[in-house]
């Protein structure tokens, strides 16, 4: 610890405040929607499975909420044999 740091002690409260504001903005956006991706995954899977035999593990649904744009990403790997 340098001698200077004794006199310029960093204030920690503003850091706490900023970290909380960022974190809570993110957590609030997810509030109540945490299960949405799982629900979508199940329903999408059910629809596709009606027509194509697919592997449950090869379906991936990802929900990203940004401040400007939110994206819903659905990634389904088709089995090589299935040609619809």
């Amino acid at each position: 610890m340098s001698l200077l740091s004794l006199f310029t002690r960093k204030r920690s409260a503003p850091v706490a405040r900023e970290r909380l504001q960022l974190l809570l903005a993110h957590e609030r956006a997810l509030e109540g929607h945490t299960d949405l991706a799982a629900i979508l995954q199940e329903e999408i899977l059910a629809v596709i499975a009606k027509h194509i035999p697919i592997d449950r593990d090869k379906v991936n649904v990802k929900l990203d909420r940004g401040s400007q744009v939110s994206t819903l990403e659905i990634d389904i790997q088709m089995p090589p044999a299935a040609k619809a």
Partner: protein, 273 residues
Amino acid sequence: MSKVMVVTSGKGGVGKTPSSAALGAALAQTGQNVVIVDFDVGLRNLDLVMGAERRVVYDLVNVVQGDAKLAQALIRDKRVDTLSLLPASQTRDKDALTEEGVKKVIDELREKFDWVICDSPAGIEKGAMLAMRYADLAVVVTNPEVSSVRDSDRIIGMLDSKTVRAENGEKFEKHLLLTRYSPARAARGEMLKVEDVLEILAIPLLGIVPESEEVLNASNVGCPVTLHNPVSAPARAYMEAARRLLGEKLDIATPTAERQGFIGRLFGRKAIA
């Protein structure tokens, strides 16, 4: 019209039980009929904080399960005769409580008391859910510290979605009680300020309880701080908070740090607001 008020926080150790005891006693001291219900089944402590640990015969679980009548389980406070306590069970677990059972007990308590204060367990599990389920309003106890503020935010979200009132689309009143606030540390920029916490959580402020040795002194001897040392800073903060709950409009003064001289700072004397 009786009111059911949950004292909750999400995080443990922020002062829910001492705050339930102090607010309950303060309300009872104004002549209101008050019961404080301990919902922390398996880890009861309200009895100890209230100094009634040797008077527990029946508890909330006994009443919910029909093994005892409500009147048998209620413990009347020896200092304030309008104050009662309904202890939690120490030997059972949270699954011993059911939603219907709790509703029945709360409805019965509503008929007997002006205030039913539900002292919630920490966490967001069944016990905490049942404590808030039938409430009309909530006191969210928060420390000016990151994990406490985050958990309070989570609990506020639940109060707005998981309570019967919220489900019926009714207004659910929430109040922030900031505890263990150290004005000296906030002034030095080492602790979140009152305004910071209010801005982040965005619910109205009920009171600011300064960090004080009197809170521990009171729980050591099993007495709500408002009765143990009524002139102390935390007792005054709780009494004013109780008056606000009764509808009085009182300004909330932010505790300020006692100015310390050089010698005081050198020896690290605690500033008492």
